[in-house]
């Protein structure tokens, strides 16, 4: 039986104000463990908003997000921070590395924040992660000494630091050249193949096609789900 890593139930995100605006409008979604899901859609369709809700960066107006079967809507902000720290890894369009720190220190940041490992153990894991992403020789360089693709790979290494169940990535290749884009997507694919769940927002249909499942969002709702099965794309239009 397939284990669900991430589930959204009737998820709504509304911005209240003089004029209310609904970013995410009643989305039901379940992502299996080890699955690679791509969320696509036009600008302003609510795909990033959905991603932030799934990664507990934002709180829903209605509905529930369950991570590894655990509901999160009643968690305090501190508890949500703990879940993010231990169960989610984030990769953004921009690397958001701390500029004064080396690549290795940036990767160590979530581990140090969690404080569950000894310093030597953390450094060993940090170097191993950087090495696995082809950045071993850049471990002691600061972000400004790295290329865009290298910075994004450091950001991925940082996201993987605490061995999270889920990696959420918001247009991780949006600011990269073609070669770097290919490299980053291959890494994310490998991560999923190794059993971690990956949810990625992308504008690139070619890259989305390499995901196990593509969820197309329009006006805050799921418009289409495309699954890749037996080497062929199977399209399912949501009602």
């Amino acid at each position: 039986m397939t284990e669900i890593a991430l589930q959204a139930v009737e998820l709504v995100r509304r911005i209240e104000g003089a004029v209310s605006h609904t970013l995410v409008n009643g989305i039901d979604l379940a992502v299996n463990k080890g699955e690679f899901v791509a969320i696509t859609g036009p600008s302003g369709s609510g795909k990033s908003s959905l991603l932030y809700l799934l990664g507990l960066l934002d709180a829903p107006s209605e509905g529930e997000v369950m991570i590894c079967g655990q509901p999160t809507s009643k968690l305090s902000e501190s508890d949500r921070a703990d879940v993010r720290l231990t169960k989610c890894g984030f990769v953004f369009q921009f690397h958001f590395l701390l500029p004064e720190f080396t690549s290795l220190d940036n990767v160590l940041l979530p581990m140090r924040a969690a404080g569950t490992m000894a310093e030597s153990e953390m450094r060993e894991r940090g170097l191993a992660l950087l090495g696995s992403l082809g950045l071993a020789e850049h471990a002691n360089k600061r972000p400004n000494a790295l290329s865009g693709g290298q910075r994004q790979r450091v950001a991925i290494a940082r996201a993987l630091a605490n061995r999270p169940e889920i990696i959420v990535a918001d247009e991780p290749t949006g600011a990269l050249d073609t070669a770097s884009t290919e490299q980053v997507f291959s890494i994310l694919r490998d991560i999923a193949d190794q059993g971690q769940t990956v949810v990625v927002v992308t504008h690139d249909p070619a890259l989305a096609a390499r995901a196990d499942r593509r969820i197309h969002i329009v006006d805050g709702k799921i418009a289409e789900i495309t699954e890749r099965g037996g080497g062929e794309l199977v399209c399912e239009v949501a009602s």
């Binding site: 902000e77 921070a81 703990d82 989610c88 953004f92 004064e100």
Partner: protein, 412 residues
């Protein structure tokens, strides 16, 4: 190294110029506060020391603190009497020798008698009102610093010169007299006495030096027209600060009005309290102002680091942990600034203590009195640290309370 401290240290160490400016601000505030406190307290203590050295710590007068009740008033509640003349009341303290013996048995210090009266000095056409205190030189040395204040002659010279007197240098200058000259003293009863200036003293308090003269008991009693009278007991205590307490005990024992030096100078001391308050306010303002530099730096850093704050929060660092980074940054600036401020404060105090100024009260050039106290350093450092932490808290709280999504979206 702890993650929070590591990030904080990285922030301040990569902004050398800003950090140094902040530290300099704190150092200046702390340094000048210490200097000001040392200077103010030094001058105050010096003044009090002169005051305490010049006058007896407790003076027992031959009067009551309140008018004694009349027998009729004690007998009948309805009787109230006023404007009662003490007809036939002989001035002076009764049995002064036995009173002094009794006091010597328990007070932590010594006691000496004196006959105090007012008189006019008439010399060369000048007539100046003065206070004449008849003293016993052998006992006076136990209760006053007059011996060490003598600039010409000795206390013993009082008994060598005919009707010898000792006067302040300021009064002698005013009258144009020198040691060995004769002046005419005129008492309240019209008694006139030719007195020889046997010596000159300088207490450091001009009002004393210009109005207080000393003689032996005999001449003073002659001026009062009361031979053998002792109308004042002068007490000197080992601990001048206990004067108020001891004065109350003396008054309870003798029944005579006993005035401590604090009570005699209550107006002056209350003006010190006002001065202390003003000084503390100014020092607090200096320290607060110096922390504005820290506020400015932390505000700048939190503004520059909005993305870092957002990413740290999105990675799972709690809001208070992120806020603590900036508090620690302010603490680093504050602690280093305070350490340099302590050094600066000491150097300023040392430098000021080498400066001499002309004191118009004493007519002499004296060094600025500085009081060195560890308390000044600790208080200035403590207040400065609190100000720095406060200066960092508000911009840090504002910056860390922003939702990370807002910043991440803004950057995308």
């Amino acid at each position: 190294m702890n993650l929070i401290f590591n990030i904080a240290w990285t922030h301040v160490s990569t902004r050398v110029r800003q950090t140094l400016v902040g530290m300099a601000g704190v150092s200046m505030g702390v340094g000048f506060t210490i200097m000001m406190a040392g200077l103010m307290q030094g001058s105050q203590l010096d003044f009090l020391r002169q005051l305490v050295d010049t006058m007896p710590h407790i003076t027992v007068e031959d009067e009551r603190r309140s008018v004694p009740t009349q027998p009729a008033e004690q007998e009948y509640a309805a009787v109230q009497m006023s404007d009662i003349a003490n007809v036939g009341k002989r001035p002076g303290i009764k049995y002064p020798e036995s009173a002094m013996s009794s006091l010597r048995s328990w007070i932590p210090g010594d006691v000496a008698p004196s006959a105090k009266t007012t008189a006019i000095i008439n010399h060369g056409g000048a007539r100046i009102g003065i206070t004449l205190s008849g003293i016993d030189p052998r006992r006076e040395v136990q209760v006053s610093k007059l011996t060490s204040q003598m600039r010409e002659g000795k206390l013993d010279d009082l008994s060598r010169a005919p009707n010898g007197i000792i006067m302040g240098e300021a009064l002698a200058e005013k009258l144009g007299v020198k040691t060995g000259n004769t002046v005419l003293l005129i008492g309240g009863q019209g008694v006139q006495l030719n007195s020889t200036v046997a010596g000159l003293y300088r207490s450091g308090l001009k009002r004393v030096d210009e109005s207080q003269i000393y003689s032996l008991m005999g001449p003073a009693q002659v001026m009062m027209g009361q031979s053998g009278v002792v109308n004042q007991l002068r007490l000197r205590l080992n601990d001048p600060m206990s004067a108020q307490k001891v004065a109350a005990q003396v008054e309870a024992q003798t029944g005579y009005k006993s005035v401590s030096w604090q009570e005699a100078n209550a107006d002056l001391l209350s003006s010190f309290t006002v001065r202390d308050f003003i000084v503390l306010t100014v020092m607090g303002a200096m320290l607060l102002t110096s922390s504005f530099a820290t506020y400015n730096i932390i505000s700048t850093i939190t503004h520059e680091k909005r993305q870092d704050i957002a990413i740290m929060k999105s990675l799972g660092m709690r809001e208070y942990a992120v806020r603590r980074i900036f508090i620690i940054e302010a603490a680093i600036i504050g602690v280093v600034g305070i350490l340099f401020g302590w050094i600066l404060g000491y150097l300023l105090c040392f430098g000021w203590s080498k400066i001499t100024i002309f004191n118009p009260l004493t007519g002499s050039t004296v060094p600025l009195q500085i009081y060195y106290s560890l308390t000044h350093y600790l208080i200035a450092g403590g207040i400065s640290l609190v100000c720095c932490a406060g200066a960092a808290y508000f911009p840090a709280r504002k910056a860390t309370s922003v939702h990370p999504v807002e910043i991440i979206r803004g950057a995308s």
